[in-house]
Each structure stands twice: as C-alpha cells, then as structure tokens.
Amino acid sequence: MFNNFFKRQWVVPYLFLAPALLATIAFKLYPIFIGLWESLIYTSFGGGVEKRSFVWFENYQYLFDDPLFWQSLKITSILTIIINPFQIALSLGLALLLMRKSKFIRVIRSLYLLPIGVALPIATVVWGLMLDPYQGLANGFLGVFGIPPQPFLISEDQALWSIIAIATWKGVAFWMLFLLAGMEEIPTQYYEAAKIDGARPFEKFRFITLPLLKRTILFVFVADTATNFVLMVPMIILTKGGPMQSTNVLAFEAYRSGFYYQDWGRSLSIISILTIISLIVIGLQLLFLGENKEDRVK
C-alpha cells in the first residue's frame, strides 16, 4: 500500500521538494514566529528559578519608553540613510570604471573583487588594526601627508564613519558584480548608435546605461539595504556599540540585550521590529521586480 503511494504521480514533486521545504519552514519561517511569540514573554530569574510570564506588549512598551532604544533607532537610521546610497553610488562608479577596455582589465577586475572573498570578520579585525590610533597603518599613511593622527574607532564622532568605511570596503565589490553583469547585458549597438549621434559619455550613461540598469540597481539597492539593517559584526568585534553608544545600531542592541543581559524579551522585541522592517523592504522589492517577471524566466 505504501509502495503504491510513492508510485502516484502527484506525490513525486512534493517528495523532491520535501527536505528543502521542511528545512526552510523549520529554520527560516518558524524562528520568525518564535521571535514574535517570545517578544511577548518576560523572563525573570528570581532565586535562580527561571520564571516565564506572558506579558502582552509590555516588552515593547518598555522599549518605547527607553531613550536607549530611540538612540539606537536613530543610529540605525543614520547608518541606513548614509551607507546605502554611498555604497550604490560607489559600486556604480566602480562598475563604470571597470567597463573600460584595457590590456590589464582582467587583472584589475579580479583585484577589485578581492574583498568579496574576504569574510567580514577578517575585514573587521584587519581594519581594526589599520585604524588603531597609535600604531595603525591609516595614521601612519596620513602622517606622510602631514595629517595629525585621527582617533577613528575610539572617537564618538568618527566611529560610525569608520564602520561605514569598513563595511563599504567589504561590500562594494559584491554589489558592483551585479551592476557589472547588468551592464554587460546591454547591447553594444545602443552605444554605437549613440556615438554616431554624437552623444557625450555622460549622455550615454544618463540615457542608455541608467534606464537599462534600473532593475539591477533597484535589486542591489534593496538587497544592500536589507543587509545593512542587520550589520553588527564590526560592532560585536570592535566597538561594542560605543564609544558613548555612537555605533549602537538596533541589531547590536538586540544582540547585547540577549547575550550580555539575558533580557530575551527585549532582544526579541527589537528583532521583531527589525524583521518587520526587512519584510516591508522585501515586499517592496517583489513589488518592483515583479513587473517584468517574464523576461527574467526565459
């Protein structure tokens, strides 16, 4: 009887799909619900006994009354507003530079792609030493031009910028790869026609490259934003959210609330807020990318 069941046609695709689908439900979807559910629970440790109580939205209420949360939201917003356009502009510029024909273009391209292969923790550790105020290479290099040593990561004013620099060093090549692939798909006839019409380089960029690259740029923009929402590795390794909370983004605040202070209700409330924001962003992504579904699936 069981044998019969497996021989039926309609079961076959579901059997192929089952392992990946179940794993996705268990380890991607279910944790989102755990996060939402546990954000409504308060855990106390009175007398060594863990006591869990369902408190509705109290964790959120505490969160919204806490200036640290708003400070953290502010830092996250500043980071988001600055880092994403900055990285997109830089990777777009770099992609344009690397579209140029040259004898060495293959070598140059692979060298520029190097940071993709360097994991973020490695980049963070090395850049942490680069930006050391006393013995770092950055200050040594600035000294050559007579610029006085900068405090970088230990300064309230410069720490966030330093982290933006580290994340950008690591991220730009990756996003550029998509833009480069998009640019190479644009038929060269367009540029040749524009050349005959006497178009200048900027006009070619403005009226050919940019419109035809719109979907790729949009995708990169949304994916980049979603990635940077949860940027916390440099904070975990280098700044611990400081100095003076100046790099304390929401993702790190969630990590710290949980793993430093065991305040899981708070931690998961923050995570839920972050997840909802990410889902909104992804929803927008699907909305925009969904328009031209036909030419994606050939």
Binding site: E38, Y112, G140, A181, A226
Partner: protein, 279 residues
Amino acid sequence: MIKHINKNWSIYAWYFIILIGLIITIAPFWWALASSFKDNVTIFAEVAPFSFWSMVPGTSLDPYYGIFQKGFGKAMVNTFFVSVVSVIGGIIINSMAGFAFAQFRFKGDNILFGFILLSFAVPADAIAIPLFKMMRQIGWFDTYYALIIPMLANGIIIFLFRQFFIGIPKELMEAARVDGLSWFGVYWKICMPLSRPVTLGAGLLLFVFQWESFLWPLIAAPSPDLHLIQVVLARFSTEYAPIWNQQFAASTIAGLLPLIFIYLFQKQFVSALTGVEQK
C-alpha cells in the same frame, strides 16, 4: 591634436583613479600578509612613522606557530568538516528542490517557489537570535547539528539549480522515463551528471557561506571545541589584542584559503553569484 591630448588625459585620469582604488582595496590585506611574518616590535616601528618596509613581507614563522598553539588548527579542522558536510547536504537537498520546480507543474508550485525565495531574502543575522532559542528548545544548542543543519537549505542555490534544470531538453528525460527509469533515476542519473558547472558553483557558494559564517557559530556553539575559524579569529582580536602578528597570521590563513578556491573556480563563482552565464 587637441582631441588627441584629451584622449590621453582621460586615460591617465582613469589609471590614476584605478590605482588609488586598488591601493585602498589591497593595502589592508597586503599589510596583514606582510606583517604576519614579523615580530610585533618591527610591525609597530615600521608603521609610525610610516615606512615603505611595512609593506614588505618579513620572514618569521613564529606568528603561525603561535596561532596553532592557541587552537587555530582545531578551528580549521572544525570549519573544514562543517563546510564539507554542508556542501554535500546542501547540494543534495537544494538540487532536489530545484528539480521539482523545474520539472513538474504541481499544486501550489508558484506559491512555494515564491515562499522559498522570499524566506531567503530575510537576512540570516535577523533570525539568528530566535533560531538560537529554538536550538536550545530542541537540544541542538552547542552541537554540530546547530552549525550545519539550519544552514543547508538555501533559496539562491535552489534557484540556480532550477534555472539550470529548465535548460535540459525534456525529450531526454521522457525517453528515459519510457525506458523505465524512475523519477529519482532521472534526477540522479541524467540531470545531476549534466549539471557539473552549476554543482561546482553551488558547492563553492555553500563552502564559502560556512567558511565565512561568524554570528551564527558564535552564538549557536560557544564551547571552544566547536569554534569555527571566524569565531577564533574574533576571539584572538579581543583575548590577545596586543599580539598583532598572530591576528594577522590568523587573518591571512582564514582569508587566503577561500580566495584560492575562488580564484581556481572564478568563472563558476561569478556566474553562480550573479546567475548570469559568463562568456
């Protein structure tokens, strides 16, 4: 004449910008590599004030001995084990799912495909903390299970396999079916052997994902016996903060190995990342 000068000028400007970009891109890693063969006194002396020698590799292997005495070898073995198992398991379950989506029309196929793509657009770091709570509930916390199993299914890889399988001629499979091959046989004996390029690219991606993962291993498997390479590296940078040369040595090994793999399989890697076949 003027046009000629203009053209030259733009080429020089291009080279100049490219060069500056290259210095910023490469200098940190090159400095780490060069310094990983020096003692700390030399590293500090060559940086402040800045000397050209800071970019010339030293000859000492002591930093490398040092890190292997501090458990770096164990972390490498762990990482290799976790990565290889993830590659094998990941290729099997994701290619099967890709096969289902490419080969069959079934109830809810579009919805399920959309769901899988959507769920993987949620950044892994965002669900790391709730996933950690789940691992504690089911008793996988601080085991290899936690490091491997939640990372196996991957929407990008499913998408890559699906795209590739769609391109395989249907007649081939129908002929095999007529000859009495089961659907699993079609998948395993016809489709998989044909999809070596995408398997290689997908395997490389899965390997690099595990090799580079940090936050998840940090919180899911805190005992030193299970530490993976990035976790150990981060631990060095706080526990042994003054010992720069060992941090550089650890960074060099952790950074260089995937770079070598990526270099060897550059074409597959790029096409796997962008989903575009390179010419």
